[in-house]
Amino acid sequence: MFETTPNGSSIQIIDCKKRLFDEDDSIDKEKDNVENQRRNSIKKQKIIASRYHRQIPNRPFVVLTSHQNQRYYLLEREEDDDCFKLSLNDGNKRSLLKVSVEDMIETNVRQELEELTKSIDKSTADAENEDDSTLPIVDQYTDELWVEKFAPRAFCDLLSDINGLIFGNIARHEQIASNEAHKDRTHSIATVNKKVYPSDIQFELDACKRPLQKVALLCGSPGAGKTTLAHVVARHAGYNVIEMNASDDRSVELFRTRLETATQMREVLSKDYKPNCLLIDEIDGAPAPSIQLLVDLISRMPADSQQASSKTKKNNSFVLLRPVICICNDLYVPALKPLRQIALILNFPRIEPNVLAKRLLTISEQLNIQTDMITMNSLCAKATCDIRSCLHFMQFVVTHRNRAITKKMIESTVVLGVKDAQKSLFEIWTEILQVPQSKKTQLTLQLDDPLKRSGKVTLARRLELIDLVSSIGSYDRIYDGLFEHYLTLHFHDPKLTSIDYANQWLLFYDVMNKEMYTQQNYSFLRYAPYVALVFNLLFVTHRPIQMRYPQKQLDMQNKLRTNTAAIETMLNDIVPNIRQYLNKDILVLDILPYMLEILQPRLRQTNIALFTNKELRDIQTLIDVMVTFSLSYIQQRTATGENALVLEPPIDAVAYFSGSNDKRGLSFGTRQMIFKELLKERVKRNIRLKSDKQEMFVPVNRQVTPTPKPKHPSELIKLQPKAIPQNETIVARDFFAKFKLGPKNSQMTPKLPDQIDSASKPIERQALISFAYNEGFSDAVRCRIKIQDLL
């Protein structure tokens, strides 16, 4: 009908308005009453408004203080004395509360507050008066957005039933952070001369002199009241709120200056000093470098900057001493990752619909709107507990001169629409796997046969689920999560048929997915969400589920990538004559397991000269294998701090499994020996290759020695001269020189430098090899010179 017309929405609105008017006509009398009431109330408000003064009037008055610490002077009047005094009393009570609420929280007076709110709720007239007293300027409904108008101004205004925990948490956090601030305030009042910043540090009680998590990260769906909450809490804890949001430019430089000004400056003009609290709204849209900057600032340790602060504070090394509250909708934006690790993450829970409905009902009572609890409940459900959109909707309806909101209106309206706000992955998983709390009674699960459960889930619910899943779109991630968790869920299925069935759907998805991406045939995409539905039907449970981000598959992929890289580097370096027979699979499946066995023969820990024939042959093959497959050892420092020689590329990691690895492998000494032999063999082969050129021995050697691997740590390179056969003579020379030099040195100590030079020169001349990094290898080190020789 109406839906088919192009501008169906407007027609529908008109229609519903019409219907509303009809209703109004039918209850004309009541409407008149309402109208009268409204007129009266408006009148009253006008009167009341005219009685407010900002200046001290010359007639008798009563002093009122608003939440903004503004003073108003209310004229006394004879005519409505009783009512007025009542309201005055009320107002006083509230304003008193607001001032002392800090103490009250400590003593847990929230119950009292609730009683009070209830009493306020009961007396609607009073409540109205009181409302006006907090918002003195408002006298027309359309003057201000209701969202602004009814935003909680004080800590006790918040819907504490649900948020109690979170508030406590924040309050505690803020308390820690503000501890110093409070004390600081008193101090700065008491002793004006005292420096502010050092005193901050002194008064902090924490180990790192600050609370461990300096940043609170609030996240939640839009319209839940995160910003409002942050404002209220910060103000309540005695801070001056400085807000930054997406409307501000957030380039790195500006971000830095703003951060610094916000956290280091203070208001000079206002009389009572309040420390600043930085509120970064909509941080999920900020560029990653800016967030990184924030993280850097936060994680900067105070120790190094404490000195800096005592000397100079210019060189932008300041410590964050003020609380920072960040607000985001989507916690899992990649840019937020570093912040997530250090921040105190406060997940803003969804508000219970009935609590919100109650509050909305209170508001509508205050505004004299006719409605009922059921209507409000359905409104909340439709707006998915988005407070903002609920209020907007109400205001929208009321400004169209309807003084009543009915359930029909809510159901027929398109203004609200079904919110297509994206839910987070976690919410979707919970939605799929957990029975919604409100519907617990409706859905009793049949325990015997999970395949027959399907009848228990209504069609509407199924469609809702499919919509939900397709709204996110990244099916891969959703299903990875489901796959990782479905077996941990509690379900009764002795025959395991449900698992089989679920798996078949997963396979169906996988096959479809591949088809989609290889053939670019996206017509299959519409079938993708049904897998989620199957999982819902099979595994939905009443118990609360603990979802975590699917990590295992990623871990596996990472591991696979490193292993594949190792295999590929190995494959690339194999000499072509052998490589033509190999491929990756053959290498992994056939060759590696056995080759590692061959690479690790049973060797005794003795000198190579004492080896038996068999051992020598083993080493010979080993070296041979390592050269042809161009494997090598590299030195690495293990976690325990020891040096270890590991195979490069690390193929043993590929071939050995963690469970069955019974500490195979050669000792460090053997590996070192093998490494030396390997270098020797490489040198030999290189010489053989270049022997046709008939080059001199020396340049060949010079060329060769650095080549094996230039990136070797220097300790290893030092070992080389021993390995090269030529070197033996040098060592011998050394040996003799040492004997010769010893006495000489002791006799001719005054000429020591020259002597050593002259003694080492002939050796240098005769040595055919010289190493750039082997300066220290000369006798200068080897000679033992006693202290008494030098004296």
């Binding site: 088809e515 696979l560 292993n563 072509p576 052998i578 023969p601 042809t628 071939a655 499994f657 069955s660």
Partner: protein, 359 residues
């Protein structure tokens, strides 16, 4: 040439040890100077590539042994640069297009065209054609195989293809019909033990007959593996004894344990544990089809005869679907779940059957 499987690899047809009749046939084909495209297939470790080298040697002589590695770079239609390594001599080139995954079609098209379009200059001294060896043809995507189809016929004058794969089941019939298919069967256990003995004598090691036979059986008639086993045995202990332990690859042990776990108990918890192990196997570069095969072997060994055909069929089905899909872990787990499901049902029906006996 340090590993014995490389060291004692035959270079010419005369050095081959088994399937001599086939070798002779190949030799006569080659001796005539010209031959059709070859499709050489057979299980792993049966000597396919060895025969290809022998064939090339018979064609071109020693020249094919001076090999070099070349890197080619191609650009896909979507402007992505892909690199592929080829091994070749002056007379032939060996390429594994499946290295580049789904872009293998580009490699097939470009590489073969460039090689085939350049004719040999001096055709009197040399052969008139070059040989392109394409390995792992069964891993080529369907597109690549279709791309190969026409090229094979078009450039038959200037190049010959030698295709090499494990199984022809994944080679499209169009290609199969264009080639002379030659199956290289795996050597029998006796042949393997004979070769092992020959190698042992050259190496100067005493090899007991029992050990040789055991290795032959354990290697699953894979000659490469048998030689490696022998060599690792020789590294462990010399002289070799009858009851010497033969080294088993870690992955085989791990896979067998996993299969045993699945056979022992059928609960969701067990599936979860098995999944961990499957992840581990996949992460160690073990191909999913090998995992499938290993699981099936072990599960079949430990289950009721009545179920065997059903489970084998299931495994085949799931393995086939694995080819169509992409996430290996899904398919492996689905197979395990299916197995457990079948097993449970069987047990229950057995229990129900028990009631009939008592009636």
């Amino acid at each position: 040439m340090s590993l014995w499987c490389d060291k004692y690899r035959p270079k010419t047809f005369d050095e081959l040890d088994y399937q001599l009749q086939q070798a002779e046939l190949l030799q006569t084909i080659v001796a005539s100077g010209d031959f059709p495209h070859f499709l050489i297939f057979g299980p792993s470790g049966s000597g396919k590539k060895t025969r290809i080298t022998c064939l090339l040697h018979a064609l071109y002589g020693d020249g094919i042994q001076s090999l070099r590695i070349e890197n080619h770079e191609y650009e896909t239609p979507s402007k992505k640069k892909i690199e592929i390594t080829t091994i070749g001599s002056n007379f032939h080139i060996q390429v594994n297009p499946s290295d580049v995954g789904i872009y293998d079609r580009v490699v097939i098209q470009e590489l073969i065209k460039t090689i085939a379009q350049t004719r040999q200059i001096n055709s009197t001294e040399q052969r008139a054609f070059k040989v392109i060896v394409i390995v792992e043809v069964d891993k080529l995507t369907r597109d690549a195989q279709h791309g190969l189809r026409r090229t094979m016929e078009k450039y038959v004058g200037s190049c010959r293809l030698v295709l090499c794969c494990n199984s022809t089941s994944r080679v499209i019939p169009a290609i199969r019909s264009r080639c002379l298919a030659i199956r290289v069967a795996a050597p029998t256990v006796d042949e393997i033990s004979g070769i092992l003995k020959k190698v042992a004598t050259i190496e100067g090691i005493q090899l007991p007959v029992d050990l040789a036979n055991r290795i032959g059986e354990k290697s699953q008639r894979n000659l490469r593996r048998a030689l490696l086993m022998l060599q690792s045995c020789a590294t462990q202990k010399v002289p070799l004894t009858k009851d010497q332990q033969i080294v088993e690859p870690d992955w085989e042990i791990y896979l067998r344990d996993t299969a045993r776990m699945i056979g022992e108990q059928q609960t969701p918890q067990r599936i979860l544990e098995a999944r961990e192990r499957l992840y581990e196997l996949i992460a160690h570069c073990i191909p999913a089809e090998v995992i499938f095969k290993g699981l099936l072997d072990e599960l079949l060994a430990n289950c009721d005869d009545l179920l065997k055909s059903q489970i084998t069929q299931t495994a085949a089905e799931y393995e086939h679907r694995l080819r169509q899909g992409s996430k290996e872990i899904f398919h492996l787990e689905a197979f395990i779940a299916k197995y457990m499901c079948i097993y449970k049902q069987h047990m229950q029906s057995m229990a129900a059957g028990l009631d009939d006996c008592f009636d």
